[in-house]
Point group: C2
């Protein structure tokens, strides 16, 4: 019976196929190539994967009765699906398992949207000193009087002209050596990695070469194709991390790996590598070059992404004492990782600071260099996880803040990623409590448009910070975050499930056909996230013995769009003059580029990764106190 298969059809895409008994609808959707949102990775925790069962649902015996074509209704589903919606046939795709043929409708709110690319490469100063360099040589033709082998002929000349000693050769480069030397009449260009290893041989005189810097974010993967000759960024490509279907945050991916001990890591690794190769293919096509013209690659990512990319079981990162497999930087042959660049090239993976402060943070540091400054800089990197680093030339300390994914739009009832249709900016008029907002992909502001044109779908990160600030400023919530339930406005109401909520967008302004609102629970989630960041920063300040920081640097693609005043207003960062707040975008990706173009920065990265002192917040009593204190929205006096 276990191998029995059932027919599953997903609407509106119409994708269909046979799926094994006892698989969940979420698993079925993956097999059939249907993208259903899953923030928690199929753990019945996020409620994002609601689907409507069109056929094969009830035997018309009443709602609580046994479902013949799906396994029984789970208590976990009640948290996300009220009775009324349940009666319409809704289930969590991760909870319902197949017992027969089904026709499933995936509502728009449960479909994965394509994320807006917000990781463009910024202009940064990088002293060019690439790890891979090109050396042109013209060799004497071999003869019976001079019968030395091809490799030795080449390396002797490289030593003579450029002082390169003890060169080795990558295996794939060696295999092609004899043919290339002769086809090029002994005039060739050698690509040499770190003046140690010949990784490719070109016929003739070649001057241009290419490198790739990659930032593997939990949500977004960004790649920058750079000229190793000029340092210029020649192409940028971005994609959603394909692992998102296995869980939106780091912990849910670690959990997925633990729940699938034989295949989980491998599956996530393979999908990521495939995604990277697709990006590479697009970029080289646009440049009119070949994949093996990419001679070097650097990679940053948080510790979990780092481990999963390498195929290392990340489970020990997820449990105390949160130990990574390795801190040191790695140079791994691209072919060993399955990455389709020049076969003998290395992928340089930046080092890790600690279990929760990864190579991405090291990237931020080497691109910002706070360790070269006298002023006390607080670097806040807001991704799906939050890292804070504080210090100066004297001392650097770091911590990881369990913000949860709320600031990226997850675990919020109407939250979503920064995709088309996401509300990114909100204003609430204190007098009227009327809301105006701006939606990604739509230049007009709600107030000035006809509702039909707005098409809001949810609220993304920067909008979420605005929500808290604006609700507080307009007096809709107290400093504690509690709704003032006595307010007389139709926007504040009790919904069908008995929960109090504030409507941000009415259903005629939305593309989901539903009102978009913020619940009391949503506000709590936002408070928890901002309090974690604030308390982390405060604790580091205490450790360093300072009351005020000289500068706040907000990194992370999301950070670019944060309203500084709102961030200060809600108490997400320690008080400082707004003009001393700098948003630097994807500084982790900048770090990957810096390491690509300057090999000495790789040494610097190894040095700083060891030097930053990691503070484990979860064991600090003081952190708990700071955290609880930071939950409230601060009095305005506390704001600079």
């Amino acid at each position: 019976m276990a191998d029995r298969k059932f027919r599953v059809v997903f609407q509106p895409s119409g994708r269909r196929g046979e799926v094994e008994r006892e698989k969940t609808l979420l698993e079925a959707s993956r097999e059939l190539g249907v993208d259903i949102e899953s923030v928690c990775g199929g753990k019945q925790l996020c409620g994002k994967c609601k689907v409507k069962i069109e056929e094969g649902r009830f035997e018309k015996l009443g709602m609580q009765s046994s479902m013949t074509h799906l396994t029984e209704w789970q208590p976990s589903e009640e948290k996300f699906i009220g009775e009324k919606v349940m009666s319409e046939g809704y289930r969590l795709a991760c909870a319902a398992k197949l017992k027969g043929d089904v026709l499933v409708y995936v509502p728009e709110g449960s479909r994965v949207s394509e994320q807006v690319v917000r990781k463009d490469a910024r202009e940064i100063e990088i002293a060019l000193n690439a790890a891979v360099k090109l050396y042109h040589v013209e060799l004497a033709r071999p003869s019976l009087d001079n019968p030395i082998g091809d490799f030795e002929r080449l390396t002797q000349k490289l030593a003579e002209l450029y002082g390169l000693k003890n060169l080795t050769v990558g295996y794939s480069a060696l295999v092609n050596l004899p043919d290339i030397l002769r086809a090029a009449d002994w005039k060739v260009t050698a690509a040499v990695w770190k003046d140690q290893e010949i990784i490719r041989l070109y016929p003739g005189c070649v001057e241009e070469s290419w490198g790739l810097a990659v930032d593997v974010g939990t949500t977004t993967v960004a790649a920058y194709l750079c000229s190793l000759k000029t340092g210029e960024v020649r192409g940028t490509e971005s994609m959603m991390n394909p692992q998102v279907t296995y869980g939106e945050d780091v912990m849910s991916r670690i959990t997925y790996a633990m729940d699938h001990p034989n295949s989980g890591v491998e599956k996530m690794k393979t999908q990521l590598v495939k995604g990277l190769n697709d990006m590479i293919a697009k970029m080289v096509d646009r440049q009119g070059i070949a994949r093996n013209d990419i001679l070097d690659m650097t990679l940053v990512g948080n510790t979990a992404m780092h481990h999963i990319l390498l195929g290392i079981d990340p489970q020990y990162l997820g449990v105390s004492p949160f130990i990574p497999a390795i801190h040191s930087s790695l140079d791994i042959k691209a072919r060993d990782l399955g990455i389709a660049i020049n076969e003998s090239s290395y992928v340089h993976i930046l080092p890790i600071e600690a279990g929760f402060v990864g190579a991405d943070n090291v990237g931020v540091l080497i691109s910002r260099e706070p360790y070269r400054k006298d002023e006390a800089q607080l670097v806040v990197d807001i991704g799906t996880n939050g890292e804070v680093v504080l210090g100066n030339g004297e001392r650097m300390i770091s911590a990881s803040c369990a913000t949860g994914p709320a600031l990226e739009g997850a675990q919020i009832s109407c939250g979503m990623r920064a995709a088309a249709g996401a509300i990114e900016r909100i204003h609430i008029e204190p007098e009227t409590l009327e809301v105006t907002f701006k939606v990604i992909g739509n230049e007009s502001v709600s107030e000035h448009s006809s509702p039909e044109r707005v098409k809001a779908k949810g609220i993304c990160g920067s909008g979420i910070i605005d929500v808290l600030g604006e609700l507080y400023r307009a007096g809709v919530i107290e400093g504690s975050g509690a709704f003032r339930k006595t307010l007389d406005t139709p926007r504040l109401r009790t919904n069908g499930d008995g929960k109090v909520e504030f409507v941000i967008a009415w259903k005629n302004e939305s593309s989901t056909g539903q009102d978009i609102s913020v619940t009391q629970q949503d506000i709590r989630q936002i408070q928890l996230a901002k309090a974690a960041l604030y308390a982390g920063a405060k604790l580091l300040m205490r450790r360093l013995g300072i009351d005020r920081v000289d500068r706040v640097v907000i990194a992370g693609a999301f950070g670019t769009y944060v309203d500084k005043d709102e961030a200060l207003l809600i108490g997400m960062i320690p008080s400082i003059s707004p003009d001393r707040i700098l948003t630097v975008g994807n500084a982790a990706g900048d770090g990957a580029r810096v390491a690509l173009l300057n090999k000495e920065k790789r040494e610097e990265a190894s040095w700083i990764a060891r030097r930053v002192e990691y503070v484990e917040l979860t064991t600090e009593k003081a952190f708990q106190d700071e955290f609880i204190a930071a939950l409230s929205i601060p009095d305005s006096q506390d704001v600079f």
Copy 2:
């Protein structure tokens, strides 16, 4: 039409299948897994692949008429198939191409016999200092107070206990690190390559580890499984080089590669690697260990075998000025070569001296160490190619002699490899011209046995040397090698093709149903081979300014069975007292073992490979003179 397939049946094996139009019968035999001898690699040059067409032959229109099911009779076939045999339906399998269905009989003389393993490991003295060593450590469990990563925890302890600094880790070893450390409760054994790289981690305390030394001969591949702890040989395995079907000698394999520029090298490489993996599987099964318990591997082979194994196009070795792709030794990850031992382990490939003096010769040198002696040693390595090295602690010179494969039984009408049924020892009674001989796989000598029990199939290398010496000693041939046609013996006769031949075994003593005889042309082939070796040795002696050598070392599996007196008699080696001739068997394989068990010998190999002066004989005028003079069998006065 090109994709039309025909039905082919091979007898007596009965193997059958569909084969594409225009494929040769030899190609068809390979596709269907039928082993047909092919010395020249399908070039219509050796005549070993004679087969009898049982059906689908003639349209009964006379012999020279068109064959309907096979392509036309080729002039090249006439050299090997006389008119009478042709009329019986014989063709060269490499010449006849399919035009229709055929039934083919493979006569015993054309079947590949399994070679007798003659490459057992000999007892040699090796100071144990393996490149891979095991280090046991017990680590402190990580905690929130001591949250350092797994790799750093391990390497810090290895540095503390064993002074190992700056260790790196092989990719596959890294992937398993976290799980093994925890499963073993932090008590592990690290296998470290050259005190540089962790290539495997074992749970618990492990003391035994394994290495593999491989000698890739043109004809035979020998592998020795050794304990890295004691140095003992624990298993020996030998196989025919699977590339033999692409040509028996180095040049025919190079030619095969040239004729198949897109796939030839890859095909030969793949077959060899598959063969190696099969041998590995057998050896580890017998020892009850796993493949990844083999932690190190060394490999020797002549330059062409070396290139083909690496997938490097060997064509430039085959044309003047005979340039190899690389001289230096190589350490290539086993996984990159597809060799199924521990994934992160390296295969150490010994260096090459020159285009025709390969890593096998370096193996001979490091196992014999003539460069440590005062006496002038002549090392003759007789394989499918012949290499001679002469020298002492002062100076070493080497040359490659184009012996051709005659001394291995090829290109001789009744020659064969050292397999069951091969005549390996011959005596001709000068009075009666009666012949007695001994056959491999049969302890009795022909004279004392009933003819039916002898079952000779052909003559192998050591028998071939005997043939020349005995024919001369008995007065059947002159010093010039010419038959004394006036002799009155039924053994000396003119055969059906008008060729003079001397019968060694009568058909009732043979398993082929044919007389086994030596033709005038065979004698010329043997003379050419022995003259090449002798002239090469003489030229090196002249270069070194000596008249006599102090010792002759005959290496090569074949050399073990050579009768020293006969070798001196025919003038294959310079005259010397027989007690100063040493036969050392597969010294190339010994060299691979030496390098496996002592890493300093790898350095020594690199040093000696550079130090030996290679002499290109083909351009030496003096060589031609020596060679012509050496063709004759010397007067006995010249023998010591």
